[in-house]
Symmetry: C2
Subunit: 218 residues, 2 copies
């Protein structure tokens, strides 16, 4: 009926294969020629969709964060229980990134590459997604002692690090892992920190949070 679905599928295939190449070679070492060879689309065919390698990287990042957040909103719809919403959030995030590990690596390693409007647009998407996470944490009630900002990033760290270690043959699948990470996070987040109970005796003369650079020879 119209050419639109074909256009979309072709572009999405190019984005997927480009993400794999960026993940394997690194963005800066990968060329549009590499993309052309892997996708079997001519250079002029590629430039029909984007004008530069940076715009291609932007499309990958924008599509990832957009899809991730869109799916989250779909999954959250109708759910009102705060713990269930946290679990949905973690599950959606893990499902997404265990299915898209090349993209995870590209989003993480090439986060600083974009400039100007591309950068601003992706930052906007990221902020919206992080705000959704923080809103879910807020629904859980006041934390037991961990600051919400630190807690949010601790949770993201826990989830995002999977691209470095997760092996589908030995590790839990996304849904099992989501149960475990939700559980791990939730109880620590809600349990109050006993005043003074966390202090440790100082050793080796280190000042609080003022560790020397490892390169010092002392």
């Amino acid at each position: 009926m119209d050419a639109r679905p074909t256009y979309d599928e072709k572009l999405l295939r190019i984005l997927r294969e480009s993400a794999a190449i960026f993940a394997a070679k690194g963005y800066h070492r990968a060329s549009i020629r590499d993309i052309s060879a892997a996708t079997d689309v001519s250079l002029s065919g590629l430039y029909y969709y984007f004008r530069s390698k940076e715009e291609l990287l932007f499309l990958i990042q924008d599509h990832c964060f957009g899809t991730l957040h869109h799916r989250l909103n779909e999954e959250l719809e109708g759910s009102t229980d705060a713990v269930a919403r946290l679990r949905i959030f973690v599950r959606n995030h893990l499902r997404f990134f265990l299915s898209n590990q090349a993209e995870m690596k590209v989003l993480s390693h090439e986060a600083d590459v974009l400039t100007g409007e591309h950068r601003a647009a992706v930052q906007k998407r990221k902020r919206a997604y992080a705000a959704a996470a923080e809103a879910i944490l807020t629904e859980l009630g006041p934390p037991g002692g961990v600051k919400p900002r630190s807690a949010t990033f601790a949770l993201f760290g826990m989830m995002n690090w999977i691209y470095t270690w997760h092996r589908p043959d030995v590790d839990p699948d996304a849904d099992r892992l989501a149960e475990q990470m939700t559980h791990l996070f939730l109880h620590g987040y809600r349990t109050p920190i006993a005043e003074g109970a966390e202090a440790l005796p100082e050793r080796s003369g280190g000042g609080r949070g003022d560790a020397p650079s490892i390169w010092r020879t002392d």
Copy 2:
């Protein structure tokens, strides 16, 4: 009395400044010439210490993991309480990487670059360090439901992700953050998972852990 301390200090300065350059430009884009310019050491002066850029990257990684683990052993000495030992582990890790963020980025982003003996030597250091972490978790007693391997990597993720978000002007210092992350992890790790309590109704027809690639157009 001898030239050894001077030699060490010079090499350590080269490693520190090289890590900063690799973190900023990426390993593959940085050249030995860049290192030479930044350190004000001639090319032949640099090749006195290492024969290739890969050997330089190896020295950075080997020195990082070696120092991190050596300090951990020093800090753990004489401590027998399992929770205190966990807290010491987290604090040592966070102190190290908040003081060495360029190194953190290089260790994380260039983990796959090394080959042959260099790779094997760094893998050995990493395995020894991860084994130390797992031993501390084992001392905590049986986990409440999270698998030890997933729990270990969840903890590493929580800690290692700091290089993407931590701002010294607004976020807790290493020692405060170590208290919070230890607390966050510990309670979730120890609390039993109630059988069946974590199940969520399935939505949008997703199979367990079998989420479609985001590039699919459905």
